[in-house]
């Protein structure tokens, strides 16, 4: 296998089947996750040894540690600040906490149940996120199946068209969509948010899931056809079980994107009843940008769910990332 071939697993716009589940891709994805397990295997040892010899000098380690520390400190500062009393947060640096540890849940109390009402916007975020993950993934799975396994005229061209839509910045669709929602009388409810997230997720979702689906051996589907199964049956009973890891990969992806989104929420869902965490948080930054005790606690509340999901399902997220890179 040539070098170019091997690294295909990590390519974005690699149309068709070179996605992550191919032999090279799996190796790449697993490698990122399971590096430790592989160090000892004979195949890898030679290269490992080379790298150890060339890179494991003190300077290399020092640089790696400096980067790791720089990447971690900002978040650590936020977390420590969020449990410090208001007066301390506003008057001394969070690093003084190490010599003078103080704990309070008051910031969280204020943010969740006080005038900021984060308990409510937290619920809004959940209500927005679940359908905005379930609906586009279902639609994309069905469409990906059609592009991968149903013969119909113009299939390849339409698929390229869907793929190309990834390069359209969503900004370009916002004004006309908002006009429609207002005309239909659904502006200010959850529906425009669900609808918009579903639409914007589709190009990438169809593309990625199609790649995963193409990698399923043709014989598996043909066997089912011989048994007299129709498309619906093949989709649900043959493909869906095999695809679960791929679906999980994209679901984590879509979940993080919707949960963390500000633009769509700001334009279609910033009404009192529907505003998610990100919108409220951005508002507080605008109006009370120096209320650090509220901001740090609020930011952490908005981070906690994605962080947990991310840490728990990191494997899948990496798969999704390597299959097609981030949302374009």
């Amino acid at each position: 296998m040539s070098t170019t071939d091997r690294s295909r697993g990590a390519r974005v716009s690699d149309a068709a089947g070179a996605g992550v589940t191919g032999p090279a891709g799996t190796l790449a994805a697993e490698g990122a996750e399971n590096a430790d397990d592989r160090v000892g295997t004979p195949v890898r040892r030679s290269r490992a040894a080379t790298f150890r010899k060339s890179m494991s000098n003190p300077w290399a380690s020092l640089i790696a540690i400096v980067i790791a520390v720089l990447w971690t400190i900002p978040t650590a500062g936020l977390l420590i600040s969020s449990i410090r009393p208001e007066f301390s947060v506003k008057n001394t640096g969070w690093w003084t906490w190490f010599t003078n540890p103080e704990f309070t849940a008051n910031n969280y109390n204020l943010v969740l149940y006080g005038s900021e009402g984060f308990a409510t916007v937290f619920i809004n975020t959940i209500v927005i996120t679940l359908p905005a993950v379930v609906i586009p993934i279902t639609l994309a799975l069905l469409a990906a199946y059609a592009f991968a396994w149903i013969e119909f005229p113009g299939r390849d061209w339409i698929f390229v068209g869907v793929f190309a839509l990834q390069i359209v910045p969503i900004q370009i669709a916002l004004i006309p969509l908002l006009t429609d929602y207002v005309n239909w009388g659904i502006a200010g409810s959850f529906w425009p948010v669900w609808l918009s997230h579903s639409i914007f997720a589709l190009p990438l979702a169809v593309f990625l899931l199609h790649n995963f689906m193409k990698d399923i051996p043709r014989s598996l589907i043909e066997a089912a056809m011989v048994d007299g199964a129709g498309h619906v049956k093949i989709f649900f009973q043959v493909l869906l079980p095999v695809l679960t890891p791929a679906i999980a990969a994209f679901a984590v992806f879509q979940f993080l994107w919707v949960w963390n989104d500000l633009l769509v929420a700001l334009i279609f869902g910033s009404a009192q009843n529907t505003a998610p965490l990100t919108v409220r948080l951005a508002n507080i930054v605008g109006t009370r940008g120096s209320e650090w005790h509220l901001l740090t606690a609020g930011a952490f509340i908005s981070m906690i769910v994605p962080l947990v999901v991310f840490i728990a399902l990191q494997r899948f997220f990496v798969r999704g990332l390597l299959a097609g890179s981030v949302k374009g």
């Binding site: 500062g77 469409a143 370009i172 609808l195």
Partner: protein, 329 residues
């Protein structure tokens, strides 16, 4: 009906959410059931049932609005009077808006280069070390945080207190300056460097992405290639330059492209950290300001159009590179 459009309590909201999901499931079930009933449905009918809903949504929600926006870019602020290319001309003639374009270029060039460089460096440094998994997780973690959250984290790092004698800072960056004997610095106010400090936030988020993809590519390099190079007496930095980098070239291009497109569209960081003031606005943010804050639809649409025009060459380059590497094989 009122409940569906105006849910107030948590219970009502969850009810509406469940209704929405059930409604969706019901519609999809009916469609699939309809094509599955008759034996041997023709291919095109099955295709419509499977791909139809997604295609309809895309045409309605992306293709059509994009065309409308492109059309709107040639009309005035109310969208009624045709003004030709006046909006585009205005963007390039107004110093503030020209600044927006310059900033966008700074984002699109700096972010991919720096994030890719750091990601590659880090991937190589921690490759095969004992702490690889943990070390990578630390860099990767910011990707899970919303850009609004990240902005708050970094506003806190950059926070500035005027020196009123005791010189206590609560922002870490300024405290470090003070410890080193410098004056505290207004990171987010002083042009043009404030744009760079915003870009750093995005680099902080995206380096994990670059690192993950590049690390996977490095691990996929076949051993025989490195073996052969070693037999030829190549090692260390040379091995990296002449073997590793060429081998992961396709992955490098992908990372650079993705990051460039991502930084073109980034909105949340600028919105939350400076609101686009103090000369830090970029096209994606200025679009929001013009279209939704200033009510200038034409100018907003023109900015969206520019965004689109800027993305196209990056994608074209990527497609070209892909074709080249395919020919090589």
């Amino acid at each position: 009906m009122d409940l569906l459009l105006n849910a107030n309590s948590a219970g009502e909201k969850f009810t509406v959410m469940i209704i929405a999901i059930l409604l969706f499931v019901a519609v999809m079930t009916i469609i699939l059931f309809a094509v599955d009933r008759p034996r041997n449905v023709p291919g095109w009918l099955a295709a419509i049932a499977f791909a139809g809903p997604a295609l309809l949504l895309l045409i309605f929600g992306l293709v059509r609005p994009a065309l409308i926006t492109i059309y709107q870019a040639f009309f005035d602020r109310t969208g009624e009077n045709f003004v030709g290319t006046d909006n585009l001309a205005q963007i390039f003639a107004t110093p503030d808006l020209r600044q927006v374009i310059y900033n966008t270029f700074a984002w699109t060039i700096l972010t991919p280069l720096v994030a890719t460089f750091l990601g590659l460096l880090y991937a190589v440094l921690v490759d095969k070390t004992r702490f690889e998994a943990v070390a990578k997780a630390l860099i990767f973690l910011p990707m899970a945080i919303s850009m609004v959250g990240a902005s708050i984290i970094w506003r806190f790092v950059y926070d500035y207190r005027a020196d009123i004698g005791d010189n206590t800072q609560i922002g870490l960056a300024n405290q470090v300056l003070v410890w080193l004997g410098f004056e505290p610095y207004q990171f987010l106010l002083q042009q043009p460097w404030n744009t760079v400090f915003l870009i750093i936030v995005f680099i902080w988020i995206q380096t994990g992405f670059a690192m993950t993809v590049l690390s996977a590519a490095i691990k996929a390099i076949p051993d025989d290639i490195t073996e052969a190079a070693k037999l030829d007496g190549v090692s260390g930095v040379q091995l990296f330059r002449f073997v590793t980098v060429p081998a992961i070239r396709p992955a490098l291009i992908v990372v650079l492209t993705t990051l460039a497109i991502g930084s073109l569209k980034v909105f949340d960081i600028v919105r939350t950290m400076t609101g686009g003031q103090f000369g830090t606005s970029i096209v994606a943010n200025e679009f929001y300001t013009q279209a939704f804050r200033q009510g200038d639809q034409g100018l907003g649409a023109a900015l969206a159009l520019i965004l689109f025009i800027l993305v196209v060459p990056i994608v074209a380059y990527n497609v070209r590179q892909q074709r080249i590497s395919e020919e090589v094989r």
